[in-house]
């Protein structure tokens, strides 16, 4: 109880910080850009966030993270608009919304779809922030007991979760993870200072920049992949009005919002479980509990309310492992982690103690950001709908030049632009070969920490690798890793077996 009161006190101080002129302005800019990134197909939240990171170099750390966080959860709101209006998900977590949202739009109820999504997203986002306020500090204190073996085990768990839950092939996911870890090895080794794998390029002494890799893998490759496609299938769905469901739909809507909140928040806490998984699981749950599952696929309102709430609740809850443990749950959150480090902040349990004004300022700004987004999403839905109608042939060159400016601004050198273009080609090829790019990004961001904690653990160990299994917390986490791997292998082998049987 005392802790809760302390947290509320800190939160009030956070509102004072977040409500200051510059922070409020950049929160507004962040959520606007996030909405824009979410609305516009062809640029996803990873590339969008990566693009803005170099621009935050000159900002105060609190202001920078407020803006970048705004982009992160703003994308979740924005992706809904394209899903509902033109059946194109603005970002991956909005794929599910296409199924029901666009059907509702065709029935002339686009406003209801957007309204329910907006209200659910707001509720889920606020609940997740409350969880961060009350769960974050005790979790951070608990995490102070963690040593290198625990951190190593948690990071490996996050990577395994990501591969087990996302992507078609566990094997390709593991290879992609290995590639990402290897990319993190390029440059100066943090302990001994030995420069590795730079092949004579002085620019590689500091290694690759994560922003460059992210922009190349996600931004450039996405645009190269969509150039040949016809992105002009945007149809004007007519004026949007009537944002609220019918009276008889409110009960079902509210229940699915609560369920979506729980699912999103739970999965947001697990490193490696992304927002896409949260929305897919929420949709499955809604189908299972529905009295009439045959309505799904034809505009079932709970098919929007649940998943949209889940993906926004996930966005808020994903901040908990980031702030308290320094472990990102997805590629976008990995970029936030990189931004933290870039601004001289070390996310982890000590952050609450060492930089409380930063932590509570960012948390308070998330409340403000969610309110701004609710205002944006509903009354301004018609305006956002018009943005979607901008021809792609006008849009993608502008996005490309902004991306190149972003890469250039990192070290004021065209080297980073060249590296970004190279990773753009690599990303394009890997996408075609169905290798998950999120695995490369996440493992790259965690790579140095994984190596450091692994080597520190071995140095302290009397029994070699057994240290990871003999300490209680790391032992439990490693057991969970093996269980997850075994379960994933089993389900995939079972799927192959059934496919082979049905073909016979």
């Amino acid at each position: 109880m005392e802790e809760a009161i302390n947290s509320l006190g800190h939160l009030m101080e956070g509102f004072v910080i977040a409500g200051s002129g510059m922070n409020l302005l950049f929160c507004f800019i962040g959520v606007t850009i996030g909405m824009l990134v979410g609305v516009l197909p062809g640029i996803g939240p990873v590339a969008g966030t990566a693009l803005l990171i170099p621009i935050t170099y000159n900002l105060e750390p609190t202001t920078a993270i407020i803006m970048l966080s705004g982009i992160f959860y703003g994308c979740m709101y924005g992706g809904t608009i394209t899903s509902v209006l033109i059946n194109v998900p603005g970002e991956a977590a909005s794929v599910i919304t296409c199924i029901e949202g666009n059907q509702l739009a065709k029935q002339g109820r686009a406003g209801v779809a957007l309204g329910v999504a907006g209200i659910g997203s707001f509720f889920g986002g606020i609940m997740a922030i409350l969880a961060l306020i009350f769960v974050g500090p005790p979790l951070a204190r608990f995490a102070l007991q963690f040593g290198p073996p625990e951190y190593f085990a948690l990071m490996i768990f996050g990577l395994i979760m990501l591969n087990a839950l996302v992507g078609k092939s566990l094997l390709k996911g593991m290879i992609a993870t290995g590639i990402g870890l290897f990319l993190a090895m390029v440059g100066q080794e943090p302990v001994s200072g030995v420069v590795r794998f730079h092949f004579g390029f002085a620019e590689l002494i500091d290694g690759f920049d994560f922003v460059v890799i992210a922009m190349g893998l996600f931004g450039i490759s996405e645009i190269l992949g969509s150039i040949g496609q016809d992105m002009s299938q945007m149809k004007n769905q007519g004026k949007i009005s009537g944002f609220f469901p019918r009276r008889e739909e409110w009960g079902v809507t509210i229940k699915s919002i609560f369920r979506g909140t729980g699912i999103g928040m739970f999965l947001g806490l697990i490193p490696g479980a992304s927002a896409v998984i949260a929305s897919i699981i929420s949709y499955s749950v809604e189908q299972k509990v529905a009295k009439d599952p045959s309505r799904f696929g034809k505009g079932a309102i709970e098919g929007i309310a649940g998943p949209e709430t889940a993906n926004n609740a996930h966005a808020g809850a994903a901040m908990i492992p980031l702030f308290t443990l320094g472990i990102p749950s997805s590629a976008t959150v990995a970029l936030l982690l990189g931004a933290f480090i870039m601004h001289g902040l070390t996310p982890g349990p000590a952050l609450f103690q060492k930089n409380p004004e930063f932590v509570w300022g960012v948390i308070a700004s998330m409340f403000i950001g969610n309110i701004i987004l609710l205002i944006f999403n509903l009354p301004m839905a018609n305006l956002w709908a018009k943005v979607v109608l901008v021809p792609y042939r006008l849009l993608y060159p502008t996005i490309l030049i902004i991306t190149m400016i972003g890469a250039y601004s990192i070290t004021n050198s065209l080297w980073d632009v060249i590296v970004m273009l190279a990773f753009g080609i690599i990303g394009y090829v890997m996408k075609k070969l169905e290798f998950p790019l999120a695995a490369i990004t996440l493992s790259f961001v965690l790579g140095n920490q994984i190596e450091l904690t692994f080597l520190q653990s071995l140095s302290a160990s009397q029994n070699g690798l057994l240290i990871f299994f003999t300490r209680p917390i790391s032992g439990i986490v490693m057991a969970a890793c093996f269980a997850m791997l075994a379960f994933s292998l089993y389900t995939r082998m079972k799927k192959h077996y059934y496919i082979a049987e049905s073909e016979d």
């Binding site: 290897f182 080794e189 001994s192 030995v194 794998f197 190269l224 060159p397 490309l400 902004i402 071995l458």
Partner: protein, 149 residues
């Protein structure tokens, strides 16, 4: 004889690449001052990737080919856009950001079906706005030519 498929080629490339990196890892200290050195982790990581790649190559023999290379118009479009980006990179330091960006945008707008004069006008307008935003407002040191733009 089994057809040479794209996954198979990519698997072999990965095998060669990480085989080389594993070899290169051994040129860094494996053990230093009684602790794992700079070459320890990358070496075993490369071995891990090689083991997975061998399984991937084995799986590739059973899989159907994946068509990754774009063809026809799609290939021409991608090569054109990529060529425009490379041209920007080559020119930016000499001509300055505004000229290089105008040329880059004009090429892509023209390719998108706009008239050449419209493409140049739009390219110039967007370039100037971006220069004003990034260089003048946000303080990003974009490349400039001898005339200062």
């Amino acid at each position: 004889m089994k057809k040479i498929t794209t996954p198979l080629v990519s698997g072999v490339l990965l095998l060669v690449l990480f085989g080389y990196f594993a070899y290169k890892s051994l040129s860094y200290p494996y053990i230093a001052f009684g602790r794992p050195g700079a070459g320890f982790f990358p070496f075993w990581l490369c071995i891990f990737i090689l083991a997975l790649t061998i399984i991937y190559i084995y799986e590739a023999f059973k899989e159907a080919d994946i068509d990754i290379l774009p063809k026809g118009k799609e290939l021409r479009d991608i090569l054109y856009v990529f060529g425009a980006m490379l041209l920007f990179v080559i020119l930016a330091d000499f001509t300055g950001f505004n000229v290089a960006s105008t040329l880059f945008l004009a090429m892509l707008f023209f390719h998108g079906g706009y008239k050449w004069y419209t493409s140049i006008a739009m390219g110039a307008a967007i370039s100037i706005c971006l220069f004003a935003l990034f260089a003048l407002t946000l303080g990003v040191a974009l490349p400039v030519n001898d005339f200062g733009f």
